[in-house]
């Protein structure tokens, strides 16, 4: 699914959080949105998912404005994984992951064989099969994050938007998550993640969008966006860029005065 935003302006409680953002993400691409706290990453993701009404500009999904989409039809094509990992009630991990199948089920219909297969695959992709019968509210933060990510995967969307999916995960599960997201992209899906870990962005993402104070400052291939100059201007850090054993690494060396 091609996702595009043109001149997007979003106002949250009287504060202009996005100031005319142009953005595009293509199928088969893993796109990272990076930027300091408060740059507007989460707001951009929510607006792209149609969860915020913009005060200016439009969001197009497959060339069609989001307002023109039936919400249920959109939910079959687009999954959104929020940053706050909320699960009310003592639902089991499997019940939570099964919620990802709701848009695919006609009213009143129960779980089909296709649903069951998608749930099983999503549980296994996020390495939470062994947690399936356990209540999610009793799990650690990282386990909960993986269960909720599995919920979005079970939705089997053409486009997946994930807000900070890797935060709170141990290194092994961070790698596994991003390898899976990259695999989803190679399958032809559009994957967009808001991200703080610059090394993960450099390593896995095909395109990086750098945001600062509600604007897109740079967008393009990782090597063009993750430069010493950009990082100094936006994050106020002196960064060291290196490649170790073929893996790109971004090291924030010091704060700039």
């Amino acid at each position: 699914m091609r996702v595009e935003a043109r001149g997007l302006g979003v106002d949250l409680k009287g504060r202009l959080v996005l100031k005319g953002v142009d953005f595009a993400a293509q199928p088969s691409e893993l796109t990272a949105i990076i930027g300091p706290n408060g740059a507007g990453k989460s707001t951009l993701l929510r607006a792209l998912a149609g969860l915020l009404a913009p005060v200016a500009g439009t969001v197009l999904a497959d060339g069609r404005p989001l307002d023109g989409w039936d919400r249920q039809a959109l939910a079959r094509r687009l999954a959104y994984l929020p940053q706050d990992r909320v699960v009310h009630w003592a639902l089991t991990a499997r019940a939570v992951v099964a919620l990802g199948r709701l848009p695919h089920q006609p009213p009143g219909a129960g779980e089909s064989a296709t649903d069951a297969r998608a749930i099983t695959q999503a549980l296994s992709a996020m390495d939470v099969t062994h947690l399936a019968p356990r209540p999610v509210i009793e799990m650690s933060g990282g386990e909960r994050a993986r269960v909720l990510a599995a919920r979005a995967l079970a939705q089997e969307p053409a486009a997946l938007f994930a807000d900070e999916p890797a935060s709170g995960l141990d290194p092994a599960h961070q790698l596994a998550l991003f390898e899976h997201l990259a695999r989803l992209a190679t399958e032809g899906r559009t994957v967009i993640v808001a991200l703080h870990d610059l090394s993960l962005a450099a390593r896995f993402c095909h395109r990086i969008v750098l945001m600062h104070e509600g604007n897109v400052v740079a967008a393009g291939a990782p090597e063009d966006v993750l430069t010493v100059e950009h990082l100094a201007a936006v994050y106020r850090i002196d960064a060291k860029l290196a490649t170790i054993d073929g893996v790109p690494v971004v090291l924030p060396r010091a704060l700039l005065p």
Partner: protein
Amino acid sequence: MKAAWANTEPNARTLLGGLAVVALLAFILSLAIGPVGLGRGLPGEAGALIFREIRLPRAVLGALVGASLGLSGAALQGYLRNPLAEPSLVGVSGGAALGAVLTIHLGLSAAVALTLPLGALLGAAVAMLAVVALAGKHGGPVTLILAGLAVSSLATALVSLALNVSQNPFAMVEMVFWLMGSLADRSLPQVWLAAPFMLAGIALLLLLGRALDALSLGEDAARSLGIDIARTRTMVVAGTALSVGAATAVTGIIGFVGLIVPHALRPLAGHRPGLLLPASMLGGAIMLLLADIALRLVQPWVELRIGVLTALLGAPFFVWLVLKTRSELAP
């Protein structure tokens, strides 16, 4: 793979089927138990009269009112994502009480038949509209609770005022008794008046399963799963107003059923708010029918009203809830 989870995920059909059987048994028991043994020595015609005019309205009312209270409690808890929510919270019961008390106070209920339930229905509708207007178009769960509390408080104050200024001791006794809630001595016309509203409200609330399931993940995730939050809120409020408003109009205030029933059944429903809706509907009917049967069994010794009994059961339940929460939150 489904079989692997069969023992951990609750089986909806078994749970609802079991509850339906128990509800049916309670309904039959409610028809059969009373001070007069039917079918034993009593002339056929008198027996039929007792059955039609006393037992049947009481059992039908118990089942419908219990179902309304249990279901709307589950719907409100699911929508507000708060296990302490219950129907009286959104102001509907308070509005119905005020409407009823006013008809008694003004002497209308004594003059014209059915004015009391009609006044209560009107009160419930006005209270619901006030709550929705107060909460605003985009008000979230907290705003809705606050608006409900504001309207309930006002209704309670006005009920107290009516009691306070009442000159007629008979009207005052009638008001107080009505506020206690009772299933006894309701006529079939009263049941027919309230039943369509209760059934319409029940039908609306039963449609909410999918939305409430999705809301377990918060509003943003629910919307991204295709749920219309504003429509969900409208259905919760309208369904509660119709079912609980009509129930209260006929029986008076019966508290705690909407709180206790969803709580008790939640673990059996795998904590799923969607499955909890039909389960709480059946559970509410069971609880109210059994409570009413218990009242009839103790009647030779003490004349108790069902609203008093549910409140007596509700208070210790709250104490238990506090102790449970305290131990869960303890370090």
